[in-house]
Symmetry: C2
Subunit: 226 residues, 2 copies
């Protein structure tokens, strides 16, 4: 007999939080791999091992599920992959460089590119529903704000003056988003390095210790796809 968690016939254990998390896990993965419309709730139920009634109890509609994925998972992915590393870096430019390189390295090691979760959903859902659009736009805004604030903090210490923080943040987010789009289409992460190199041409930096902030990134979910 295989030792499964709790396949006992006569007993059942209610685990609302665990079940909700399990559904969000598979939904996040499916939306990232196949997109929103191409992921049926039947697929999600099967992948998560959740009954229709249970899923409907936690997420009344598919839209509600997607909104939860956006608010809780996509936002967290941006926070973990971009905002936290940039804030922890020695400077904004250094943080941006570290993230670009870390993501490129992981993608190359991984061997395939599924794209940026935020941009993937943004393209598919921004025009589909105002609620989707507002949620996604908010994540973009937070992303840009974090970078702009970091650069502004740098300038308070005399670093990197002469660069407009808002423009720098916009260009950084755009370059990364577009690079991931191309990387996904070409299945080649090299374009990330090209864009980073082009981006750093505009740096007035003299020279700084190149201590790469080694942080795990989370643009691409679980490597093991069962």
């Amino acid at each position: 007999m295989i030792a499964q968690p709790k396949p006992r016939p006569g007993k059942r254990i209610n685990d609302p939080e665990g079940m909700r998390k399990k559904v969000l896990d598979v939904a996040e993965d499916a939306f990232q791999a196949r997109g929103y419309h191409a992921s049926s709730i039947g697929d999600l139920m099967a992948a998560a091992g959740v009954s229709g009634g249970a899923l409907h109890h936690h997420f009344p509609t598919k839209k509600a599920l997607a909104l939860a994925v956006i608010d809780e998972r996509v936002a967290a992915a941006v926070e973990e992959t971009w905002i936290a590393p940039v804030l922890a870096a020695a400077s904004a430019r250094e943080g941006v460089r570290a993230v670009f390189e870390a993501v490129a390295a992981q993608l190359e090691q991984q061997g395939f590119v599924r794209g940026c979760p935020l941009n993937n959903l943004a393209h598919e859902l921004s025009l589909a529903d105002p609620d989707f659009r507002i949620a996604l736009a908010g994540i973009f805004a937070g992303w840009r704000r974090a970078i702009a604030d970091k650069l502004h903090a740098d300038q308070q210490v005399g670093k990197d003056e002469g660069t407009d923080p808002e423009r720098f943040a916009a260009l950084t987010v755009a370059a990364y988003s577009g690079a991931m789009s191309m990387a996904k289409a070409t299945q080649d992460a090299g374009v990330l390095r090209d864009c980073l190199a082009g981006l750093e041409r505009s740096a007035p930096s003299p020279s700084q210790g190149a201590l790469a902030a080694r942080r795990r990134n989370r643009i691409l979910p679980r490597p093991g796809t069962p």
Copy 2:
């Protein structure tokens, strides 16, 4: 009686090319506005006023229709919006600037943003099917090549040396793609101008006549949505 084109009951005129064009028109528009999966062939038939048999005669499957849209329409849009204006400009940098500004201006005048057709479909279809991915990657490649070649030609005349053409092209395409992604999510084309400004910081340009190449762009299709 309303004067319709040809609603005569007893007569019919075969117009293969016209019917094919009509289908591609509505498909291009629907894919841009709602995406591939959200556009049913029933919707397309109704919008184009085409029977199921006719549509199936020209495009046996939905995938075949999408591939035709990509090869004939999306590629043409990139050519018209980006490649031709850049090639016609005084320099690569000048062409890039002109396109960014022209697109931003049109979007602001239009009042809403539907995004870049290439990136819209790239995000939704790149992982869905290898044929889609290859077709889309090819358009990206042509786009980058045109910009890189233009910059290389500039350098043959001594202009803008010290800039790597491939990297410049990659960054330009990425910045535009990402900016359009954000513009779509925020429904605000201002980010295009922010990115352009950030992009031009890396220019070693002394000064050149700012003759804006005024060309119609075609990122967003027909303004009138019936």
